[in-house]
Symmetry: C2
Subunit: 236 residues, 2 copies
């Protein structure tokens, strides 16, 4: 099943939020556990909805370099106000903000990554900060060889310096690296830089009430239902 | 056995060359395998001997930011000339330079790190570059939670930004981090930044012909014969 042009891949770099872990389901659970008078689905979507605009403020230079933990907290403070929640203490807010460190993996992630690790170097390539990704890996049992983050390159995806940065870290050509992600825009930006790409279907990324179109794009090197299937496609 | 002031440690950051892996023994083996007409002991010591002066050229600003892989290659080219070795092809030189990616762990390292990982977040804090440390971990079976490197902070140890950088990555106070190293100078610089410190005895770091003084320094939080003993001291 392995296309001939995938033979030289050395590094598999994974997008994380939505691709490896279920941010929507995990944040919903965290909100539910707080017994707030809000729709946990709407709260999760609003928190994630603030993510791209917050990074855009960094990309545009309006904000200096700011870690995702801090952007998540800025968005959280805004949506707590928007949802009229005034009962949380500072300690509770800090704990809730670290919910992103405790996101749970999709059911196929740990097995799939373990199999891929036997034949490839597997790393993260996430806009999440290093501390967040390390805590998440330890909590969820994600067996990364290396944690790479926008924090290492001081640029947020889809800046080319992030995708090309992975190749540079490992002293490889861009085509020796494959980005694995559940988002076509991320993959398109990686392709522009010469990386190979694999799309992972996550139809419930935004919850069961908002099914995502997971149609293939033939520009990707591979298209897999999940990470276990990707492992089989890559002969692991 | 755990001193009371070690109770809050969250992160164990490890120096690598000499502390976790046996650079002298590994480089000697690589040189021996090439059947060159040189003393492999002297060659290994000369290669390592160029390391601090090369980093000093970066620290002083004489050289711009340069990865250890590239510094290792600059030193290699110099000592090949010094030792009168003219028989290596470019491919052989490139392979030999990556010997630092293949350094073998001290016999206690894999077991000790595995035990420590059960209770702490364990990471590297090495002047080695990320690609080197990742290849080494995969080759030697070192189970890091996270690979931190001078490359992340763009400063070489003993710059305070490296030690404080570890605390910052994990959003912790310096005293929540312990540096583990076989070199008193590295530990002293970490202590200056408020980190806790553990010394590991590696009497044969420079080979069996040049035994290193491994006397304790009472300024360190802990002093352990090896990493397995450190794990026991930290109740792992």
């Amino acid at each position: 099943m392995l296309p001939e042009n995938s033979n030289n891949i050395k590094i598999l770099a994974f997008d994380i939020f939505g691709t490896v872990v279920d941010w929507h389901g995990s944040i919903v659970k965290e909100i539910d556990s707080l017994n707030l008078e809000v729709s946990s689905d709407e709260f999760a979507l609003a928190w994630r909805g603030g993510y791209q605009p917050a990074m855009q403020r960094v990309r545009s230079g309006e904000l200096g370099w700011t870690l995702i933990d801090d952007l998540h907290r800025m968005i959280l403070d805004e949506i707590l106000q928007k949802f009229g929640i005034e009962t949380l203490s500072e300690a509770q807010k800090r704990h809730l903000n670290k919910a992103w460190h405790r996101l749970e993996p999709w059911p196929d992630a740990v097995e799939g990554l373990g199999r891929l690790k036997s034949a490839y170097t597997i790393c993260t390539l996430s806009n999440g900060n290093i501390g967040l990704l390390t805590d998440m890996a330890k909590n969820a049992g994600l067996p990364w060889d290396c944690i790479l983050s926008a924090e290492v390159f001081r640029k947020y995806k889809p800046d080319p310096d992030t995708y090309l940065g992975v190749a540079k870290v490992f002293d490889l050509a861009p085509e020796d690296v494959m980005l694995v992600a559940a988002h076509h825009s991320d993959l398109a930006a990686a392709r522009e830089c010469g990386l190979k790409t694999a799309y992972i279907e996550r139809p419930t990324e935004y919850g069961a009430d908002q099914i995502k179109d997971v149609s293939p794009n033939s520009a990707n090197t591979l298209h897999a239902r999940d990470i276990v299937v990707l492992a089989s496609m890559l002969d692991c």
